[in-house]
Symmetry: C2
Subunit: 332 residues, 2 copies
């Protein structure tokens, strides 16, 4: 008999996330009531924001509750429908959590077209990370042709789209990533103008070399020391869309930003943002990205973990930068 299987939040991490912060359980297959659908999940999305949800501290979204299914986006199909708006076989994305099945009344589900792109891509370039890239670069960063755009976590789900969108707009693009393989990918595959390896031990010098005209937009996914270094390169009237601070999650003693005066001297705009605040931008962002994907203008890479049980270790690896491209878990 088919069963559900779920990853629960067992305990809150103190410092780095560890496997024992999760607990994997079997559960009865949920039954859709009147007006509901049963979803079978094919793909689970793993994203840095989930780390914040594991904490007790105030963050931009409700914390995950202890003993409950971990929050997260999935891509799946309708396995059973008692809702006239959905039929069996419809492909959808939704925030159904780390589990194999769920029921839904349809609210928060989005139907997707697998003729345009494989289903899992709707968790990445054609989903929340893609829109995040678009909103930060264009709505907030207002990147213009001829400007220099720098982006951290450059080979990741968001960063790789930021850099490619910036190239399509005629910007000079400088990635920042960890290790030669990721930097090589950004330069050779994605067409960035340069990519700085922050693990090479010459961050300030390498950044300086890579940004001879300074930086006009810094799309920041990481915060910490890398932000502090990029602040030395910011141009007057430059912009910093702040999308994440992944470098700071696990540190009891966070990195203090020392080059803060650059914000004043260069009249920098910094805007922290969460893509879910910006629903108005979704249609245009998705339409543009979809067109570029259809035209073959955007490359996309995934790290695929196999099976729900591998989700905790894949998540822990992603927080350490071990993934390469968008991290997903194949559930079926």
């Amino acid at each position: 008999m088919t069963q559900n299987r779920q990853v629960l939040l067992a305990s809150r991490p103190s410092g780095a996330v560890r496997p024992e912060n999760f607990c994997i359980v079997d559960a009865p297959l949920p039954k859709p009531g009147e007006g509901q659908v049963l979803l079978r999940h094919h793909w689970l999305s793993l994203d840095p924001y989930m780390r914040g949800r594991m904490d007790d501290a105030r963050s931009y979204a409700q914390n995950a509750a202890l003993g409950e299914v971990m929050v997260g986006g999935i891509a799946g199909e309708v396995a059973e429908s008692r809702n006239p708006k959905f039929k069996v076989g419809d492909c959808v994305i939704g925030a159904q959590g780390w589990q194999l099945y769920s029921v839904s009344d349809g609210r928060g589900l989005t139907r997707v077209d697998t003729r345009v792109a494989p289903l899992s891509h709707y968790l990445g370039i054609l989903g929340m990370p893609g829109v995040t890239a678009w909103v930060g670069l264009i709505d907030i960063g207002k990147a213009k042709a001829g400007e220099t755009v720098a982006v951290s976590a450059a080979s990741g789900a968001v960063g790789s789209v930021v850099g490619q969108l910036a190239k399509l707009r005629g910007c000079r693009v400088v990635g920042i990533a960890g290790g030669a393989a990721k930097c090589g990918y950004c330069f050779s595959e994605l067409g960035f103008d340069a990519c700085v390896d922050y693990k090479a031990g010459r961050l300030l010098e390498d950044l300086q070399e890579a940004t001879p005209q300074g930086v006009d937009v810094y799309f920041d996914n990481v915060g910490g020391e890398i932000l502090d270094a990029v602040l030395t390169r910011m141009n007057p009237h430059s912009r910093i869309p702040l999308c994440g601070t992944i470098s700071q999650y696990d540190k009891a003693d966070s990195h203090g930003i020392r080059n803060f005066r650059s914000f004043l001297v260069n009249r920098i705009l910094l805007q922290g943002f969460i893509v879910s605040d910006r629903k108005a931008a979704w249609p245009q962002a998705i339409a543009e990205i979809t067109q570029w994907v259809k035209d073959g203008k955007l490359k996309y890479r995934e790290s695929v973990a196999q099976g729900l049980d591998s989700a905790p270790s894949a998540f822990i690896g992603m927080l350490k930068g071990e993934n390469f491209g968008k991290q997903v878990v194949k559930l079926t």
Copy 2:
């Protein structure tokens, strides 16, 4: 015979500014050429931004040159005119530097009306500091009735106007200032709802008590530890107009901002700004402030130093927070 007298930049400070960084000299009275006026300066403005000009480091304006007259705003009158646009006795403000006389072709001079307010007020509430307050609070901060506005250097030339403008807009206003006298002034004289004494050693606790609804706009004049503390009180979608970082000028080892993650979690907008970038805002700002001054709705306080020779020590005192209200030097 009448002579000019000037304060020159003798050397660049290493750390705190010292009297020997300046040098006071007599100089011949300048003679206006065709199309020029001779100005007699009555008041010299002392402002924190001048500290940045004394350094070698890149700042938002050209550095002061060694051996040259210190940069600064003055209020004075036309003593001799060979320019048809000005007549003897006209009162003007301009950026003529730390000296008793200057010549000008009229560019950069603004005629002011001493029937509205005393001449020196055009260096403060009716001049650059007043417009700075208006631009930061209204253009950038977008302070709305019912919101909480916090402002550092609250009793100073800019901060005192920020807080009063915010009160006039129906905001709750919390000042941050050094010492009981300044805090008492903000609370009792200026009508702020609360004022936190950052020297009292309970900054975080006192801020928390003073901002039960959090902070929606933080008008920051100081940076450093105080900014770091206020970051713990910022509300979602709050704004930080960053006007100055006076706390950080003299420190070889600047304070690292540790609570940076608040920018992401609360989706904070930070905008460094310099009022001279925002010429378009001047007419509306000056018109509104002038009307409130005429209506007796804005209080204004000056620290007056006597004579050009006292300018260096008054400036050094201001950087230490020894002034109380707008620091000017009476030259005549």
